[in-house]
């Protein structure tokens, strides 16, 4: 593991602002980013990362390999939930429904972790394919589908789980639509379009990421303050070992389909990260009996900070080692 990258990551403004938010919330400061603004920041990040991915894909040519990447990503996100589910059922006392709901989160991805990883790769001068954004967009639906199958098996006997499968809501959820849409816009307008709006989507990008991570730190810190009630050691452990486990599987897959170092690192990051926006809302609709406090805390207050600080340099090291 390259300690230079690890240290560089830890003292970069985005990670430090996340730490600031975390500390402020744990100290019960009333610092808060208004909800509408947090949503706007995330729309901005989605739009920018999607668009830049599309422009990069347009530049580097665009062929069979994008389908390979998307296919591998979708497959990974369908196969990870059973692993997470089995681990949870073995090591914790969670019921079928709660375990399935958590598993859905770990099959899916966190786009902000992905963005922070691209920033770390940029800082370390490691190249990655623009099409990886398309992989990110493909990893939500399969994870939810698989988790619902897990929850429903045997669900009939206890009369539970009367929620309706939220296919439409999930497939057309705002983040995915914006990510894919901006990717297509970037693909269509290419460099010309990019030059037009670069002062908006590229120059201030890292600064906006700082502000967004400040808010993420605040939210994670507020979750952590209530942690004692919900987080058993076994669950906490899961939130910490599941990411590198998933990351290795993702990295191996990336190496197998021939991605370059940056691509392997990003596929690592995607499999290692857990959703905390789209999947929680989908789980409320599909598995309303599952406890939101469990899956939100785990994904937002344990896995996300782990990935942002320790995880990203680790996954880059894994990628270096695999390629």
């Amino acid at each position: 593991m390259d300690w230079g990258i690890a240290v560089q990551n830890l003292v970069s403004p985005p990670v430090l602002f996340f730490a600031l938010g975390l500390a402020a919330a744990m100290a019960k400061s009333d610092l808060a980013v208004p909800e509408a603004v947090a949503k706007a920041l995330s729309l901005y990040l989605m739009l920018a990362i999607g668009f830049k991915g599309g422009v990069a894909a347009a530049g580097h040519g665009f062929g069979f390999d994008i389908f390979l990447i998307i296919g591998a990503a979708a497959l990974l996100s369908f196969c990870l939930p059973p692993l997470a589910f089995a681990l949870l059922r073995l090591t914790t006392k969670l019921g079928r429904i709660d375990a399935a709901a958590i598993a859905a989160h770990y099959g899916s991805i966190s786009i902000v972790t992905f963005i922070a990883a691209t920033a770390a790769l940029d800082a370390a001068g490691i190249d990655y394919p623009g099409t990886m954004v398309a992989a990110a967009a493909a990893m939500e639906v399969p994870a939810i589908a698989c988790a619902l199958l897990l929850a429903r098996r045997g669900g009939s006997d206890d009369g539970e789980s009367r929620g309706h499968a939220p296919w439409r809501e999930v497939a057309l959820n705002g983040s995915v639509v914006l990510l894919i849409g901006a990717f297509i816009v970037g693909l269509s307008t290419g460099e010309t379009g990019y030059k037009d709006i670069a002062p908006f989507i590229s120059d201030p990008f890292k600064g906006v990421l700082c502000l967004f991570l400040l808010d993420m730190g605040l939210v994670a810190g507020r979750e952590l303050r209530q942690v004692r009630k919900t987080l058993t050691p076994a669950l906490l452990g899961f939130g910490l070992y599941m990411p590198p486990l998933g990351g290795i599987i993702g990295g191996l897959t990336g190496a197998a389909i021939g991605l370059n170092t940056g691509g392997i690192a990003l596929l690592c990051v995607l499999t290692a990260s857990a959703s905390y926006i789209a999947v929680p809302a989908a789980m409320r609709l599909a598995l309303p009996e599952a406890k939101p406090s469990l899956y939100l805390t785990l994904s937002l207050a344990v896995t996300f900070p782990f990935n942002l600080t320790v995880g990203i340099p680790l996954y880059i090291a894994i990628a270096n080692w695999l390629s």
């Binding site: 808060a32 980013v33 208004p34 909800e35 947090a38 009367r162 929620g163 808010d215 993420m216 605040l218 939210v219 507020r222 979750e223 209530q226 905390y276 926006i277 789209a278 929680p280 809302a281 789980m283 409320r284 609709l285 309303p288 009996e289 406890k291 939101p292 406090s293 939100l296 937002l300």
Partner: protein
């Protein structure tokens, strides 16, 4: 000023269910409704405050429906069938209205 007795139904429900509830109410014979946002709450499943959530999950919305006494049971039955135990808090109270034909 003559007034007419009606019922006021208040349903406090999680934000991700709101669209489903409103779609259902649009199908039912409900004269109208109004949804109001909430800032914070506590109930059986714990407390939440709006600024501590990044997702819609857990956030609440209050839906008010003014309607005829007779329409209350069918509406409630339909609502409960779809939303079941997660549907949050339902209260019913008496109100007077001025124009009975609107409801």
């Amino acid at each position: 000023m003559e007034t007419y007795p009606k019922k006021r139904l208040s349903i406090i429900i999680e934000a991700p269910f709101l669209n489903r509830l409103l779609d259902l109410l649009d199908d039912l014979e409900v004269p109208g409704y109004t949804a109001l946002p909430a800032l914070a709450g506590r109930g059986g499943r714990g407390a939440w405050r709006r600024d501590s959530l990044s997702s819609d999950a857990g956030r609440m919305v209050q839906v008010l429906i003014v309607l005829d006494q007779e329409k209350v049971p069918p509406v409630l039955t339909a609502v409960r069938k779809v939303l079941d135990r997660q549907m949050g808090i339902v209260t019913i109270s008496d109100v007077e209205v001025l124009r009975p034909d609107k409801f």
